[in-house]
């Protein structure tokens, strides 16, 4: 009994300690973003005395963050929608046909989960230059789709198997074609997996730095992470501006997460454990 109580006490201590370790750096970044350069000299732990909101507008202007925000939204939204459409469609026959070609195609998609992007990076650079897609959104969007498909096909295929086949058979008897059966009957049933994939793919793509670093270098086409990165060269050690940019760039996803946190936690949980 004594051992049990001591364990409980230790566990709570670790939990509380980690909560503090998570909070402190974020809080300090927030404070720094609100300080003037003079206040910054007062040490990292000092509280901002007067809130310098102009850091945010300055970071917004200097980092051209309005443009990057729009770019990030356009790229993430189009890539995520296409991943979901393409993978839910492909997984449908793959999960239903008990033929060799279906299994082979399924494994073909799955093999993509083991491929590091670095392996494809150099040839992709050549391919996109040949297609004249460097600096255009289509390139990264297509790469994100290719990278996102394996896991999405995998999750959808597993989920289709839990949907009874009678549903689509009766739809066919009622004269519903295969495309309409998929679009208006099956796709809505996939909602749990769709929301998991929506969140996980948005997270990966929104925060990705590597692909834009290679393919979207120009000021007008860069995404949020590149825009934040641009502050290192130009404004060395202007921590207040860098952190203002970091906060502007992180806020959309953090807010989205706080709104959808319940679905997020359940989504990852069901997706990951089944996987």
């Amino acid at each position: 009994m004594a051992l049990r109580e001591r364990n409980g006490w230790l566990l709570s201590l670790i939990l509380a300690l980690w909560a503090v370790i998570v909070l402190v750096p974020i809080l300090i970044a927030l404070f720094v973003a609100l300080k003037t350069p003079e206040q910054l000299l007062g040490g990292p732990l000092s509280l901002p005395t007067a809130f310098e909101w102009s850091n945010f507008s300055e970071a917004w202007k200097k980092g051209m963050m309005g443009t990057s925000l729009v770019n990030s939204v356009v790229i993430s939204v189009s890539a995520v929608i296409l991943i979901i459409l393409l993978s839910s469609a492909a997984a449908y026959p793959l999960s239903r046909r008990k033929k060799k070609w279906a299994t082979a195609t399924y494994l073909y998609f799955l093999s993509g989960m083991m491929i590091p992007f670095q392996m494809a990076m150099i040839p992709l650079y050549k391919l996109l230059s040949q297609l004249n897609l460097i600096g255009k959104f289509a390139g990264p969007v297509l790469i994100y789709i290719a990278l996102g498909l394996p896991f999405s096909v995998f999750l959808y295929t597993a989920f289709y198997k839990s949907i009874p086949q009678e549903i689509e058979e009766s739809a066919l008897i009622d004269g519903c074609g295969p495309y309409r059966t998929f679009g208006s009957i099956l796709f809505p049933l996939l909602k749990p997996v769709t929301s998991t994939l929506l969140i996980m793919n948005t997270l990966t793509i929104w925060n990705d730095f590597f692909v834009p670093l290679l393919f979207l270098q120009s000021k007008s086409s860069r995404t949020i992470p590149l825009s934040i990165y641009s502050f290192t060269g130009e404004f060395v050690n202007q921590w207040n501006l860098i952190f203002a940019a970091v906060i502007i760039g992180s806020l959309p996803l953090v807010l989205l997460f706080l709104v959808l946190q319940r679905q997020f936690v359940q989504g990852i949980a069901s997706g990951a454990v089944k996987g």
Binding site: L3, S12, L15, W18, A19, I21, V22, I26, I28, A29, P44, L86, A89, A90, P93, R97, T105, F109, G112, M114, P116, Q118, M119, A120, M121, I122, P123, L124, K126, L127, L142, I143, I145, A146, L147, L149, V153, N207, F209, F210, L214, I228, Y229, W239, I242, F243, V246, G249, S250, L253, V254, F257, L258, Q261, V265, I268, A269, S270, A272, V273
Partner: protein
């Protein structure tokens, strides 16, 4: 036959994008690793295994492989130990547990880039948060140049990666723990099992699927780490934090040695492949069905 035609229309779009933008590039990566392509010169020669021979004699590559494995193994161990501990404390559906779960997940939402900046500031030697805090508690002796000391920097970087993603590992364990039926615990409790023996004999075997996922995923993520290192140290000081991803990027885009960089990518791919195979076979055996 008509049904097969319809099936094709469902599969083809995904198949085409996946093949064109991932499979074909990967296969040509294998080919480029056998050439001296330098990115600028349109004339590329086939040089057989020369790149690989050079690679085995390149001390930078040996160093990068050691760093890659060190990062991957440390990340996997620490994230799983901490993630499982946090998850054990998160059991139940109370309000505090729900809030803490969200709290621990906030760093997961941030980009590795943003986190790299935040921690570069925390770690900075003279006016950094960590050293200032240590001094405030009278622990001046523990203050270090966390990223500038070549023996420490790799561990400082590993810690940042743990901080970033441990919430994700935790959530997967939380899900695994929730799937353990409560009557199993009750039965073990009635049989007089203590807390530790309950964990070892009941909980752990039943959460083995989450354990497999967490080990494999964290290992693969650990081998690939790029953004965090790129922003915080860019492989330095010296080459003390240079892993295969960073070396590969430098060889390809700073030195334009595309052929050589491709052979490094192949090595990285092999490491990932070998690890995932071993882990999937070794860990799957331990799982139990319930």
């Amino acid at each position: 036959m008509k049904r097969f035609g319809t099936d094709i229309t469902f599969i083809l779009p995904a198949f085409a994008v996946f093949t064109l933008f991932l499979v074909v590039p990967v296969l040509s990566g294998f080919y480029y690793s056998l050439t001296d392509w330098n990115g600028l010169n349109p004339e590329t020669r086939f040089i057989g295994l020369d790149n690989y021979i050079r690679l085995f004699n390149d001390s930078d590559v040996g160093n990068a492989i050691r760093n890659t494995l060190l990062i991957a193994v440390c990340l996997t161990i620490v994230k799983n130990a901490l993630g499982l501990t946090l998850a054990l404390g998160m059991q139940g559906t109370g309000k505090i547990q729900r809030i803490m779960r969200v709290w621990y997940l906030v760093p997961v939402m941030l980009s590795a880039l943003a986190i790299g900046y935040i921690w570069a500031y925390v770690y900075s030697p003279s006016d950094g948060v960590l050293n200032t805090l240590l001094e405030a508690f009278g622990l001046d002796g523990l203050a270090r140049d966390w990223l500038g000391d070549s023996r420490l920097s790799i561990y400082s970087v590993i810690f940042v990666s743990v901080w970033h993603f441990v919430g994700f590992t935790m959530i997967i364990y939380v899900a695994g723990l929730q799937s353990v039926p409560s009557d199993v615990y009750e039965a073990a409790y009635l049989d007089g099992a203590g807390k530790w023996s309950m964990f070892k004999n009941v909980t752990f075997p039943l959460i083995a699927p989450s354990f497999t996922v967490n080990i494999v995923v964290n290992m693969i993520v650990g081998i690939k780490v790029f953004d965090t290192i790129f922003v915080m140290t860019n492989g330095g000081p010296g080459t003390s934090t240079e892993n295969l991803s960073i070396l590969l990027y430098r060889q390809a885009f700073a030195f334009d040695r595309m052929g050589y960089a491709s052979s490094i990518a192949v090595i990285m791919f092999m490491i990932i492949l070998i690890f995932s195979m071993i882990q999937i076979f070794a860990l799957r055996k331990r799982e139990v069905e319930h």
